[in-house]
Symmetry: C2
Subunit: 374 residues, 2 copies
């Protein structure tokens, strides 16, 4: 299949403060973004892709290091989200660690890195920052907003905060809020990070260290929740690394241990600890029903978009039941909604993999959107 080839990230600076839900404001900030395909004359074929925890603006194509975008299997020429027909935008959210203004950048008020003082961001704040980028790009209305997991929450939030600015909302493997168990896993990961002596209260940059121990543990916990029990069993089971047991509490005995340690090590090498805290907190806070007495149906009253919700049977982080809650709230409002529950073995991670039924559903839905844009 044709590839987008090399893509170059772009930067946009915003001098006007971004008011945040916390009551604070981000005084000024830069967003890094990529675009693929061509905006049509009617400016009606733009698709915004929102990223989840450890992803970025680099959705598709290859960056300068030859790294493929995180959703390159889904987005590109001839792919389900077809860049020959859509103008696709990937944007790194503020607070993240892939180029947009974040905790590792200089706090203009102090001349020092923000560190733990970077303002707490919410899904709604990110959506507002993305909307400003679209203003600058001259895009009044998106053909669609698309996201998975935390990205799906952003897509849902778009439909509530800027109802007239998107025609379709595509939310994959997401939830209307985190369950107590979801929050619990986030909290353990955060505790691992903030209690790492190298965290230095979030100001580790000035000490020339990173809280790698905490990040590793956080990532290992996260990783377990991204995979299904079944897929872990199929992939690793009780496979040993060596033929015989070492009878050691610290050596690696099982392949799953080796895999998890590797994932943790890799993550600690590139991800920012303060970003991890900020993004897991944004996940915790997202709860559109909260301001409506807990009624998700009432929260969705203002929505105007048409919706596609996709969930995966073995996703125990954001289970199909959570997507069905959203479907129900939309149906209660007589909003237009399609719902696909994909029987896939890969757990939460399935949203990043090209399961044929999942991608066929995405292709069919985006084909319809493209026809409307023509």
């Amino acid at each position: 299949m044709a590839s987008l080839g090399l893509v170059t990230p772009q930067r946009m600076h915003f001098a006007e403060p971004l008011p945040l839900r916390s009551g604070a404001a981000l005084a000024e900030y830069t967003l890094v973004y990529e675009t693929y395909g061509t905006l049509n004359a009617a400016r009606s074929n733009a698709v915004l892709v929102c990223h989840a925890l450890n992803a970025s603006h680099h959705v598709a194509g290859e960056d300068a290091d030859g790294q493929r975008g995180w959703w390159d299997n889904l987005v590109g020429p001839g792919k389900p989200v077809d860049t020959d027909r859509f103008f696709v935008i990937g944007v790194n959210n503020p607070g993240s660690c892939f180029g947009s203004t974040g905790p590792m950048h200089t706090n203009p008020a102090t001349g020092e890195p923000w560190g733990a003082d970077f303002p707490v961001m919410t899904v709604e704040d990110w959506v507002d920052a993305q909307a400003r980028l679209l203003d600058r790009l001259g895009i009044d209305q998106l053909a669609a907003v698309l996201g998975g997991s935390l990205g799906g929450m952003q897509a849902l939030s778009w439909s509530l905060r800027h109802p007239a600015r998107l025609r379709h909302c595509v939310a994959v493997a997401t939830a209307p809020n985190l369950s107590a168990q979801n929050i619990a896993f986030n909290e353990v990961a955060r505790r691992a990070i903030v209690t790492d002596p190298d965290f230095h209260g979030g100001h580790f940059y000035r000490h020339g260290v990173v809280p790698a121990r905490g990040l590793r543990v956080a990532r290992m916990i996260g990783h377990i929740t991204y995979l299904s029990d079944d897929s872990m069993e199929a992939k690793f089971g009780r496979q040993l690394r060596e033929q015989t047991l070492a009878y050691s509490t610290q050596a690696i005995e099982f392949q799953i241990e080796s895999y998890l340690r590797h994932q943790g090590e890799k993550f600690a090498g590139y991800f920012d600890a303060n970003t991890y805290l900020l993004i897991t907190r944004a996940l915790d806070y997202f709860d559109p029903a909260r301001e409506h007495g807990g009624s998700l149906a009432r929260a969705f009253v203002p929505a105007q978009a048409r919706f596609l919700l996709v969930s995966f049977t073995t996703d125990w982080r954001f289970s199909p039941a959570r997507s069905r809650e959203i479907v129900k709230a939309l149906v209660d409002n007589r909003h237009s909604v399609s719902y696909c529950e994909i029987d896939a073995p890969h757990g939460h991670d399935a949203f990043l993999l090209d399961d044929p039924r999942y991608f066929a559903a995405m292709r069919a839905y985006f084909d319809n959107i493209a026809r409307e844009c023509a």
Copy 2:
């Protein structure tokens, strides 16, 4: 209901080395144990209770600090495991941290605390140590061996290693081995502990510190897996600690965070880090099918006991499917087996709670055992 009142732990020293599955041996050791009820003249009414990760010999009654035993709701006069009819024995396993020889005790070879050099123990080693205690107590055959979770694994192992020494095997909320996901959670917990700078390679005793950060995180992870998603949701949901959000990554916002931190804090105050490593490793290693080409049915050929297996519908750590694997292996051998799948909301923790259906099943089964002893 009548209580056993104050119980006093006893100690038994063993000068003969205990050969271990690792090939090493525990040169000498002391076991701490408690007994409740009276051994009958025929010495036929003894019930051994095996403990899980963070429990001890203190199964029932009150210790000198007024602490009730961890299964005091199940074991006592007139209770399902009736100490008016049974002579019940609780024993702390070697490697644990409640009195029996463990990593915090002196390694006779060095005169220093064992620390990380304490030999790695397996379920089979514990069973052998327990068998020696019974030798000393003059008990040739147990009416039953009873355990939940890791304790259930010990009960199963008894039926394979000492088939003639027990008439009944009662294994609650257990599994024939750990799944990849189970091992993964153990491994993350272990990494949190051993990467805590206060762990000092397992020799923290001599530094006058404990790796409390790691232990807290380990316990928080464990705790999440003991509770069901549903029971966490029912108990905590998204309840906030304060009326308004603080918008902070480190402050406690949700009640579930407060609960987990409290559990972690409490645990780090009394549990030994090396014991945590040893016991989770014993869990990882247990796999009676391994020496039989992966066939659990073949592993159970030598068993002679009659079995009761109990599982709980919402237990996602050791799900009913895992108990059914054991039932199938027993049925394949035409062994006598009763199986109760209890519809309980509390997840893995259910085995410690007095769900009426669960306790009724236990009472009925132990009533029958008692009648045989009379």
